[in-house]
């Protein structure tokens, strides 16, 4: 670079830079450190601000009652967020149940079975699922999934009425199941991308050993690959869960906006994120209502924080056991 300007004659002292020419160096270092520290301050402020603003509702109902009371009645000024918390958990659980098996299968298929010519394009197609914005998924689910699936849901609810939480007299158009299904589609790309990375870290000798012992391809996958990649796959699924819990708009469109706990997955419901998106407008004039929504946001934040921390820990551990470092961060781009 500009090193030619340095005088190398005259011994060590001339190698020292003048204080003035050291200045930019110090500025860059201090500047970058300050930016990084500012992020910490910002997040601290973020958490404190939300807590302070949610305080009125916590003071009036108590934190536990706010989270676990099954009564969200805006007109009476009663805020117990249980229907929302449960709605969030049900839809996310449904998303995992439907999305993860498919996502892991796709990852297995792409790493083990897929003909090489197809692999590139199929990978791109699965990744493209992540490029569709959530409002577009919501739009599609509202006009396609809800009407087309309703007869099938009704049939399922009638036929399998003995399974808990399935039976319902009249399947609602928008319901928990539809929201779960759309969330499953939305978490599929991230879960499958992380599973693919973890599966590709399985040492080839382990796979070859299984095959050499006479396993079929499937037995090799079951005995050599899945146990090895288990923790990473679970971690990836938890990251998907975090995504599903926080997803707002698509769910808001198809959940039915009913703050009463449904008895079946085919009933209308509500989630924490959806209630914030829908009610903040009317809440602007009512401080308690606003505090309740912020409280809901805080619960949502804590929930995702818990899930994501566990997830990262698991992905990190399976990275460490892996032979080569894996870039789970690459999947963040999705």
């Amino acid at each position: 670079m500009e090193a030619g300007t340095q005088q190398t004659t005259g011994g060590g002292r001339s190698l020292d830079r003048s204080p003035l020419s050291r200045l930019p160096d110090r500025l860059v270092r201090v500047g970058l450190t300050a930016i990084s520290a500012a992020i910490l301050v910002l997040l601290g402020y973020f958490f404190i601000k939300l807590t302070i603003e949610a305080k009125p509702v916590f003071e009036k109902f108590g934190v536990l009652n706010f989270v676990f009371d099954n009564n969200w009645d805006v007109s009476k000024g009663i805020y117990g967020a249980l229907p929302l918390v449960v709605g969030t958990l049900i839809t996310s659980a449904l998303a995992l149940v439907m999305g993860v098996p498919i996502a892991v299968s796709v990852a297995l298929f792409l790493t083990e079975l897929c003909p090489r010519r197809l692999r590139g394009s199929l990978t791109i197609l699965v990744d493209l699922l992540a490029a569709v914005p959530s409002v577009v998924y919501g739009l599609w689910a509202f006009f396609f999934l809800i009407p087309k699936l309703k007869p099938a849901e009704q049939w399922f609810a009638d036929t399998f009425h003995f399974i808990p939480f399935v039976a319902t007299e009249n399947v609602a158009g928008p319901n928990y199941f539809i929201a779960g299904l759309i969330l499953a589609i939305m978490i599929l790309p991230i879960v499958s991308a992380i599973s693919r990375e973890v599966l590709s870290t399985v040492p080839p000798d382990q796979k070859e050993a299984a095959l050499a012992l006479g396993s079929t391809r499937w037995e090799m996958i079951r005995t050599a690959m899945l146990p090895y990649a288990r923790r990473g796959i679970v971690g990836g699924s938890m990251l998907g869960l975090g995504r599903a819990i926080g997803e707002t708009i698509a769910v808001t469109i198809v959940i039915g906006d009913n703050p009463i706990l449904g008895h079946s997955v085919f009933d209308q419901g509500y989630t924490l994120a959806a209630v914030i998106a829908n009610e903040f407008n009317e809440a602007a004039s009512d401080p308690l209502h606003r505090a309740a929504l912020i409280g809901a946001g805080l619960v949502l934040f804590v929930l995702t924080l818990l899930v994501n921390s566990i997830a990262r820990l698991m992905v990190l551990r399976s990275e460490r056991q892996g032979a080569r470092p894996m870039t789970a961060a690459a999947a963040e781009g999705l």
Partner: protein, 299 residues
């Protein structure tokens, strides 16, 4: 993957029928699951094309929503321009900051206490639901009336910037770590000061990776609706003043889709095509840059 060649042949007894059937069954399940995974993508694309193409016209792109109860409903000009303005402003803030944090982490922080804390909290930020960031901006900037406005485009940008920052940082950190240490050492040994090493050596060799990561972050932010609803809100008129309420495509789609008016619903589908196309273009550019830099051998 040529491990199949190692399968025993010859004197060994053949694989039993039950095991072979299990194998074939499991394989076909994997095929099937992959097919199932592609179905929603095909359906979504088919539906937005078949329902939305009819909505596209010159007027669609050149008029603002009218908001009239009867008559022509107008297009999405203000929404398209609003999305570009809001996301552009967010990127202007989030990309330099994100890269700065990543540079701190790789070049200065090392494994120190601050660096570890920053890494952890950047991860925390990645997981924060977008609507919670929206709430935060609503509380701090909108309700407080910062800048003499309540709802404003730049406040939407601030919410999106909070979303983009961790994504940019994480992806930039990964590519910065790929820059060979020997390059840094060579430049330092030649007497270049640290900041010059960063500006002239490290950033250029990581540039394509940083650009790719930033473009992917932009693509993701462009599709966000929730944080914009109560920061930039939904308006009709086009504006180039970031301190005024500003329309955006996702918010416009969200508002139109439940209206009892076929023309508005069709506008939502047309808006969906436009939004998906915009995001796909950005994503494609990102992937192309990524691929080209891989061909050249640089990270």
């Amino acid at each position: 993957m040529e491990v199949g060649a190692l399968q025993p042949r010859g004197p060994l007894p053949p694989v039993s029928g039950r095991r072979r059937r299990a194998d074939r069954f499991a394989r076909s399940l994997l095929w099937l699951a992959t097919g199932v995974a592609i179905v929603p993508l095909v359906l979504v694309i088919y539906y937005i094309l078949s329902k939305g193409l009819g909505a596209l016209s010159v007027e669609f792109f050149t008029t603002d929503p009218t908001g009239d109860f009867f008559g022509a409903q107008g297009g999405v000009k203000s929404a398209i321009l609003g999305t570009i303005e809001i996301v552009g402003a967010a990127a202007l803030v989030a990309v330099p900051l994100g890269v700065g944090v990543a540079l701190y982490l790789t070049e200065y922080g090392g494994d120190g206490r601050l660096a570890r804390a920053v890494r952890f909290f950047v991860d925390v930020m990645t997981g924060v639901p977008s609507i919670v960031f929206g709430l935060f901006i609503y509380l701090t900037l909108v309700l407080a009336g910062v800048g003499g406005s309540s709802f404003a485009g730049w406040k939407g940008s601030a919410a999106l910037a909070l979303l983009m920052l961790p994504v940019v940082t994480r992806s930039a950190e990964v590519v910065l770590q790929l820059v060979p240490g020997s390059l840094r050492e060579a430049a330092l040994a030649l007497g270049a000061p640290r900041w010059k090493v960063i500006v002239r050596v490290i950033l250029p060799s990581a540039a394509s990776g940083i650009v790719t990561g930033s473009l992917l972050a932009i693509a993701r932010a462009a599709g966000e609706t929730a944080p914009l609803l109560f920061t930039a809100t939904i308006v009709k008129a086009t504006t180039f003043n970031l301190n005024e309420p500003m329309n955006s495509l996702p918010a416009q789609i969200f508002q139109d889709l439940k209206q009892p008016n076929d023309e508005l619903v069709q506008r939502a589908w047309g808006g969906a095509i436009t939004l998906v196309a915009m995001i796909l273009i950005v994503t494609l550019i990102a992937k192309l840059i990524q691929r080209r830099s891989r061909v050249q051998g640089a990270p």
